[in-house]
């Protein structure tokens, strides 16, 4: 997603990262990843739950797709780390338009299940062209 950061900016899309982990883990994440977007902490999981991001099933989290996803990351030089925090908690993506209407609501079934950046950008471009 960072590779397309300029395009998000050009289209006027603000990006906010939401995590349920606070304290040293969140601070280390911001430091190590040199995060340029705001990281907000939802440790009560209220917003996660509002958008239906609950805990996943074992087979979703540790299934073949997840293993393949981690293998891809390793091939790109990323070292997998033991999860710190609830490994079953699902993530996802919510795209909200300037009027406050949800335009994309994706609840990830597992670590490999994310919408493509291109599909997100397309929603914004298409909506901007129509307005």
């Amino acid at each position: 997603m960072r590779q397309q950061e300029a395009e998000f900016e050009q289209l006027g899309v603000q990006i906010v990262i939401v995590t349920f982990q606070s304290g040293p883990m969140a601070e280390a994440y911001v430091r190590e990843s040199k995060l340029s977007w705001p990281l907000l902490i939802d440790d009560s999981l209220q917003l996660y739950k509002s958008y239906g991001m609950e805990r996943g099933r074992w087979q979703d989290i540790f299934g073949l797709e997840s293993i393949a996803s981690y293998a891809k990351l390793m091939m790109r030089g990323r070292k997998p780390r033991m999860p710190a925090g609830d490994p079953y908690q699902l993530g996802g993506d919510v795209l909200i338009d300037p009027r406050g209407i949800v335009r994309l609501h994706h609840v990830g079934n597992g670590p490999a299940d994310r919408p493509s950046v291109e599909s997100i950008l397309k929603i914004v471009r298409d909506a901007d062209q129509q307005s």
Binding site: V13, L39, G52
Partner: protein, 41 residues
């Protein structure tokens, strides 16, 4: 859960790592992508 496309987004008020509260109104009027992380580790 039903897909929420076309519905009004939920408001929020959440702290950043420095404890400063940010609310949904801070981001209003522009596109906003909320990326919900799984565990950070």
């Amino acid at each position: 859960m039903q897909n929420l496309v076309g519905k009004a987004a939920f408001g929020f008020e959440l702290p950043n790592i420095n404890g400063q509260l940010r609310e949904s109104d801070d981001f209003a009027g522009r596109w906003l992508l909320l990326v919900f992380h799984r565990h950070l580790g």
